[in-house]
C-alpha cells in the first residue's frame, strides 16, 4: 500500500475520541505508550469530557525481544503522576499489531500495583496479532503487508501524521 491510501491521523483521532467519549470512565487515567501513544494520550485528554490525568510508559525494560535485540532504542522514563492501585486506566498506543508492546505495558503497570481495570485505545489496528489481545477502542482498521511499518509522526505545530516505512527501520513496532 502507498502513503496516499493511509487515513488522515487527525480525522482518525477524532473518530477514536468520538468512540471513547461516552464509554470511558469519568475518572479514567490515560497512559500513553512512548512515543506515539504519549502524543495521542495528551490529545485525547483534551478532547474527552472531564479530567483525565495523563501518564507515560516506556516498555523497553519489559519487551520480550530483549534477548535478541538488547537495549537499542533511546529510552524514556515511565512517568505515572497518580496511584495505579484502584485506578481505571486506558492504555493508549498508535498502532496495534502483534500485541507484544501492550503485553509489556500491562506487565509494567502491574509492577506499580493493581489497577481496577485496564482498557486499550489505539489509533490504528493493523491486525497480525501474535497474542490474545484486543483493543477496546479503535480509530481505524487497516490491512498492511508484513514488511511494512506504520509510523505516527508529530509535526512541530503538533499536527499528527501517519506514514509507512519498511519494517525493521523502526524500533518497537
Amino acid at each position: 500500500m502507498t502513503t496516499g491510501s493511509l487515513p488522515d491521523a487527525e480525522i482518525t483521532l477524532g473518530r477514536l475520541a468520538e468512540k471513547m467519549r461516552d464509554a470511558v470512565a469519568f475518572d479514567a487515567k490515560l497512559i500513553g505508550i512512548y512515543s506515539g501513544g504519549a502524543w495521542l494520550a495528551e490529545r485525547l485528554a483534551d478532547m474527552l469530557d472531564g479530567e483525565h490525568p495523563v501518564g507515560y510508559i516506556d516498555v523497553s525494560f519489559y519487551r520480550d525481544d530483549y534477548a535478541q535485540k538488547g537495549l537499542r532504542a533511546k529510552l524514556a522514563t515511565t512517568t505515572l503522576p497518580f496511584e495505579v492501585p484502584g485506578s481505571r486506566i486506558v492504555l493508549v498506543d498508535d498502532v496495534l499489531y502483534t500485541g507484544r508492546s501492550v503485553r509489556a505495558a500491562i506487565n509494567e503497570l502491574f509492577d506499580y500495583g493493581r489497577p481496577d481495570s485496564i482498557e486499550l485505545a489505539v489509533l490504528i489496528d493493523r491486525g497480525g496479532r501474535e497474542l490474545p489481545i484486543e483493543a477496546t477502542y479503535v480509530g481505524a482498521r487497516l490491512a498492511v503487508a508484513r514488511d511494512l511499518s506504520i509510523v505516527l509522526q508529530r509535526h512541530l505545530d503538533g499536527r499528527l501524521e501517519l506514514s509507512v516505512e519498511p519494517a525493521g527501520s523502526v524500533a518497537g513496532a
Partner: protein
C-alpha cells in the same frame, strides 16, 4: 587498536575501563540509567530484563558498599546473584584465578562482577573468556588495583550531569589522594572524553601520580587556588593505611591543607556540588559541615550508583 571491551560490531561486551571508551557509549550508559532511577520509587522495584541470568559477584578484595550496590542492581533487573568472597575460599586453597572462572562458567554464569587487588585482573578474565570462545559471558570491573573503577567513574559522571548538565562548560576539581585512587583515574578519563574543559587535581606532591598532567589535568598543590571557580569538587578518601609510610605527616596536618571546610568551599562557585566516593573520613578529608551541607550530593551518588550499574548490566547482557 582493538578495544577488548567492544565486540566486532563496536558494542560494549565487557566494561573494563573508561580509558578509550568512546563518548557515545558513555553517553548511552548515562542515558539508559535515567529511567532506572525511578524504578526505586515503585511498588515493585524490579524489571524483568535479566530474568534467569546468573550474575556472579567475585570479590577478591573486600568492599561492602560496591558489592551491595551491584547486588541490588542485579536483583532489580531480576537476575540471580551469587556472592563469592574469594579471598577466603578457593584462592586460599591455591586455585588460580582462571581455574576459579572456569569452574563458575561450568555453573552457567552469565556475568562476572570482579573486584581484585591486582590491576588488570578483570581484563585477564575477559581475555580468557574470548580466547576460549565464551565471549557471551560478560565481565564488569568493580575496581582493580590502582587501575580503574569504571562504574564508580560512570556514577560520578551521571551525578555531575544530573546537577550540572553540560560537561563542556564545567570546571571540576579532584582533591586528595589521587595517587592511590582508581576512582580518580576513571573519573579523569570519563571527564576528558566527554569534553570537560578544565579538570584539576589538588593534593600534595607525594599523593599525586608522576606525570599526572599527561592525563590532561591541571595540578594544584594549594587547595585554595585549585578550588577557585569550580563547579564540582570531588573529594577522595584518604586511605588510613597510607598514613603509615612517609607520604604524609599526619591526618591533622592533611586536613589543615587539603580537608574541605565550609570556608574553603566558598572559593568555589556558589552553586558548586561536593562529591565523595565513600567511605568518608570525617575530619580528615572532609568536614562534617560540608559532608552534611547543602552542597553535598554524596548520598544521591549512592542512589544513582545503583541505576548506573543497572544500565551497564542491561546493556552488556543485551549485546
Amino acid at each position: 587498536m582493538h578495544n577488548p571491551q567492544l565486540n566486532a560490531d563496536g558494542e560494549l561486551q565487557h566494561l573494563l575501563t573508561l580509558e578509550g571508551l568512546p563518548a557515545e557509549i558513555i553517553g548511552r550508559i548515562l542515558d539508559t540509567a535515567v529511567p532506572f532511577v525511578s524504578i526505586a520509587e515503585r511498588d515493585v522495584k524490579k524489571v524483568p530484563l535479566l530474568r534467569g541470568k546468573a550474575v556472579f559477584n567475585l570479590f577478591f578484595e573486600n568492599s561492602t558498599r560496591t558489592r551491595t550496590t551491584f547486588e541490588i542492581a542485579a536483583k532489580r533487573l531480576s537476575a540471580d546473584v551469587i556472592n563469592l568472597n574469594i579471598g577466603v575460599s578457593s584462592t586460599a586453597k591455591g586455585e588460580t584465578l582462571l581455574d576459579t572462572i572456569d569452574n563458575l562458567v561450568a555453573m552457567n554464569a552469565d556475568m562476572f562482577i570482579v573486584r581484585h587487588g591486582q590491576s588488570g585482573a578483570p581484563h585477564l578474565i575477559a581475555q580468557h573468556l574470548s580466547a576460549t570462545n565464551r565471549s557471551h559471558i560478560h565481565v564488569v570491573n568493580a575496581g582493580d588495583g590502582r587501575h580503574g573503577h569504571p562504574t564508580q567513574g560512570l556514577l560520578d559522571l551521571f551525578t555531575i550531569r544530573h546537577y550540572k548538565r553540560y560537561f563542556r562548560e564545567l570546571t571540576v576539581a579532584i582533591v586528595g589522594d589521587v595517587l592511590h585512587s582508581r576512582v580518580a583515574r576513571s573519573l579523569i578519563h570519563g571527564l576528558t572524553t566527554l569534553g570537560t574543559p578544565e579538570v584539576r587535581v589538588i593534593g600534595p606532591q607525594t599523593l599525586l601520580p608522576t606525570a599526572v598532567e599527561a592525563l590532561g589535568v591541571h595540578v594544584f598543590h594549594d587547595m585554595r587556588q585549585g578550588l577557585a571557580g569550580c563547579d564540582v569538587v570531588v573529594m577522595l578518601r584518604l586511605q588510613s593505611e597510607r598514613m603509615k609510610g612517609s607520604l604524609l605527616p599526619s591526618a591533622g596536618e592533611f586536613f589543615k591543607h587539603y580537608g574541605l571546610t565550609v570556608e574553603k568551599l566558598k572559593l568555589a562557585k556558589p552553586d558548586a556540588i561536593v562529591m565523595h566516593p565513600g567511605p568518608m573520613n570525617r575530619g580528615v578529608e572532609i568536614d562534617s559541615a560540608v559532608a552534611d551541607g547543602t552542597h553535598s550530593v554524596i548520598l544521591p551518588q549512592v542512589t544513582f550508583g545503583i541505576a548506573v550499574r543497572m544500565a551497564v548490566m542491561s546493556i552488556l547482557a543485551g549485546n
